[in-house]
């Protein structure tokens, strides 16, 4: 019988249990933040960072505050015995030896499942499933709070759910697919300034202005029809002639 070894083993199990606890907590936090970020269309990388930081901080804090009394609370008839044995491990007399035997006998059967709180674990599992399902829904539907915040007039508050489950259909009876290729319905942008990135270049279009484009000023290609926008003088791009129609459609529809 070696009480030092037994206590060290049970302490290791306590630390591992703490890690599992913190890991599950950070997973719940990470999933919750992921769901939120996805709903705003932001990269989920932030949730990984936040989850990781939460795990690290939580683990360090819980290890620092952990004590043998936590094990005593989980194991029946062990209260005060484990702490007494640990605090007096260097001493040797009949009474302490008997105590050490009792403690070794009881902690020998302590497993990680004894130390983990079942109720709390189930609660966290439930939250994980809940947030997982939420992420699945957001991913599948393409739900986005920013889209939802922009109403029919382009300025309205969040008043409806957009995306797969919005129930809206276009004239052809198809679900809305905000496709810029001109084949399907194009988004209505209202009076807002729109920044579009085409290739690696930035093209600023002020939709509030009307007027014909000057070919000389732009240095690019003229489009048929009238597009109420000014093209930046730095704009230049090359595209296949097959795609010309697509871009033309895009700008035409944009101008509607």
């Amino acid at each position: 019988m070696n009480i030092h070894r037994d206590i060290a083993r049970v302490k290791r199990r306590l630390v591992f249990t703490k890690f599992l606890d913190c890991f599950m907590d950070s997973l719940v936090v990470g999933l919750a933040i992921s769901a939120l970020l996805l709903a705003f269309g932001v990269s989920v990388l932030f949730s990984v960072i936040v989850g990781g930081a939460y795990l690290f901080k939580g683990f360090v804090k819980s290890v620092k505050s952990s004590s043998l009394s936590e094990i005593e609370k989980k194991i029946p008839n062990l209260e005060w015995q484990l702490r007494t044995a640990a605090d007096n491990a260097g001493r040797d007399n009949n009474i302490i030896n008997r105590l050490n035997e009792e403690v070794a006998e009881k902690v020998g059967f302590v497993s990680i499942s004894d130390l983990l709180s079942g109720k709390r674990t189930i609660k966290r599992m439930f939250l994980m499933v809940l947030f997982g399902a939420l992420i699945f829904y957001v991913q599948l539907s393409g739900f986005n709070f920013i889209d939802a915040a922009v109403g029919e007039d382009g300025m309205g508050p969040v008043s409806k759910i957009t995306g797969l489950f919005s129930g809206e259909e276009d004239v052809n009876g198809r679900k809305n697919r905000f496709d810029i290729f001109g084949d399907e319905k194009v988004i209505e942008l209202g009076q807002r300034e729109l920044e579009l990135e085409l290739g690696t270049e930035m093209n600023e279009i002020d939709l509030g202005k009307e007027g014909a484009l000057g070919a000389g000023a732009s240095g690019g290609k003229n489009f048929r029809g009238s597009v109420g926008s000014d093209q930046d003088s730095s704009y230049s791009e090359s595209y296949n002639s097959d795609e010309e129609e697509i871009i033309e459609n895009f700008y035409n529809n944009l101008n509607k």
Binding site: R83, A85, D87, N88, N94, I95
Partner: protein, 316 residues
Amino acid sequence: MQQEIKSAQDVKNTIDEIMNHVGFVVVGQEEVLKQVVTSVLCGSNALLEGYPGLAKTLVVNTLAKVMDLNFSRIQGTPDLMPSDITGTYVLKEKNGSRDFIFEKGPIFSNIVLMDEINRATPKTQSALLEAMQEKQVTVGNQVFKMDSPFFVLATQNPIEQEGTYPLPEAQSDRFLFKIKTKYPQHHEEMEIVNRFTEEERSPEVLKPLINGKTLIGMQQMVRQVPVANDIKQYVVDLIQKTRKHKELIEYGASPRASIGLLMAGKAKALMEGRSFVTKEDINEMSLPVLRHRIILNFEAERNNFNEDDVIKYLLK
């Protein structure tokens, strides 16, 4: 007679047997008896406070009998002199020459019952101080060691305070416990009436269960009981609280109280067959250990709080 006591369980069995034997003579008063035994196991002194006729003397006398210890009784009176307790030099003739020989007083015994200690004068009370704390008596320029085990169990009456000399704080601090004896319950009193009117039951009918050597062994075991650091911390915190709560307590307990409380907790654990001390042991022992060591202020007395009320408040 059980002599081999090696484990906490052995101590528990022995104490249970002692309790049963004492219970043959004394009806009820289990709590008092338990606290007296705890005090004996700690090798400390106890002060029993209660009304007359509550078997205080009988408890101590019976305990001495079952532990096979020398027992002496001193009745506290205003004219009791220190030499009446400690003994004195008397002129004796031996082989034709006369010499002053020290004649030991009743203090030289294993268990000394000092009945109505508060009726003795402060001078006589203080004669007990050295014996209680140092386990020795100084007479003239000679020091006499007491026999081991040695403890004083004193009694005092809470009523009839006229002509008494309340124990000074320095002396009451020497008592590990102040044990309060209560009136028996109805069924206990019925049993007392039946038992003592039908047959004579005196401690003399009892046989010794242990002896002084076994008791000393058990006292050493009490010191060996390990204590968790959290419990030590708890004890010190509690004693410190008695000094900080000035709104109720004028004078708090001394560090001797910390030692006494921890020792009492150890003894209680051992008596229950445990080799570790719990917070409940400390809480239970804090009342008899602290009640004579704190002095309440006017505010507490005005609110009709007694020492036990204040200790319970500190334990919350």
